[in-house]
Subunit: 199 residues, 2 copies
Amino acid sequence: MSTSTPRTPRADSRRNFSSVLTAARSVFAAEGIDAPLEDIAKAAGVGKGTLYRHFATREHLLAAVLADRWATLGELAAELDAGLPAPPSPDELRAAIRTWVSAYVNSGHEYPGSGAGIAARLAAESEPVTDACSLMRKNFQQLLGRGYDAGVTRTDIDAQEVLILISAVTGAARTSPVPQAATRESRFVDVVLAGIEPA
Amino acid sequence: MSTSTPRTPRADSRRNFSSVLTAARSVFAAEGIDAPLEDIAKAAGVGKGTLYRHFATREHLLAAVLADRWATLGELAAELDAGLPAPPSPDELRAAIRTWVSAYVNSGHEYPGSGAGIAARLAAESEPVTDACSLMRKNFQQLLGRGYDAGVTRTDIDAQEVLILISAVTGAARTSPVPQAATRESRFVDVVLAGIEPA
DNA sequence: CAGTTAAGTGGACGGTGCGTCCGCTTCTGA
DNA sequence: TCAGAAGCGGACGCACCGTCCACTTAACTG
């Protein structure tokens, strides 16, 4: 009796939860992560109040939307790490890191505005967002750790900070006019990848 | 008669223009570059309409506020360039570039939020802002050009892009919780400076 | 298979900031 | 001194946010 009552949520509640999540994915994809929450509620066929009941803030909703994408990236990091030979050569490590970062960058294309937005939230340690990416970060940190050992990565930059750097520069690159945007993004990522190697 | 009438503006108009500009400086400094324009109008003792009459958008006002700071940075770039020995050594060039970039970063501390904001506007080629920094950019590009020659700077990254990169990463760093913010900023700047050197 | 009730809903509401518009005021040049 | 152009500034309509609460409805109970 002293323990909390875990009561399973009502059926309509669960239904609305996933309606909102689904709607959020498509609205964020179409209008960017700053889209009015009201649009999402409307798309989900629920009221604003219901949306807020399930996701206390935009952060929470955004984190929920990103969570599974980030889970996938977490797995990729683990796989890349596992796929590395016993003592990996510097070039193999660089390649693995670059591969992962590219995947991270590509995954960011789906939701406009996510670059700068994520950078800011990661840097600010926004609870819901950092929680949602904690596993991914842990696995990428693992990979990065092998970079430290092999001397291909600065030891004063950790996984979280690489994510911030990459998100920030891709975010900026993507606000550029279309002709430049794509090439800028890849050059900016290059700059960061080169920059996180030891001097 | 076919030519336009250049009529000098009325006295109250000029007065209000500078009141708004002064107010904008202090409000932007105190509340960040996203401060409500109404606050600035109030601080200047004018109505919102008057503010908009003089500065059509937030961009224009922001650009006007930043203009003289950027002029100073433009001069610094020219001086650093002029102060370089006839054939500068790579290290001398690196030092000059680093010095200028540090000055740029420090100047950004005055207005909270300017990092990410400027990065986005520079990348998006926001008219008023890119105009305001065109001289600074030109002079810094000059310095960077000598970097290309000396082989200490990637030739596929220009001055504009260095500004974007630096603004983006410092912007992110500054949203970090205070304990980390300062050290993060300097490490992030280091990463970019290292990253813009040729592979 | 009602009846009860707590969980859940959703839209109305108040608040903030934006940018525009236009009736009124003030400067300026004749 | 006065006419009229230039400039002023606050009221207005719009968009979005996040909260609140009267109503609905799913889920347990006898």
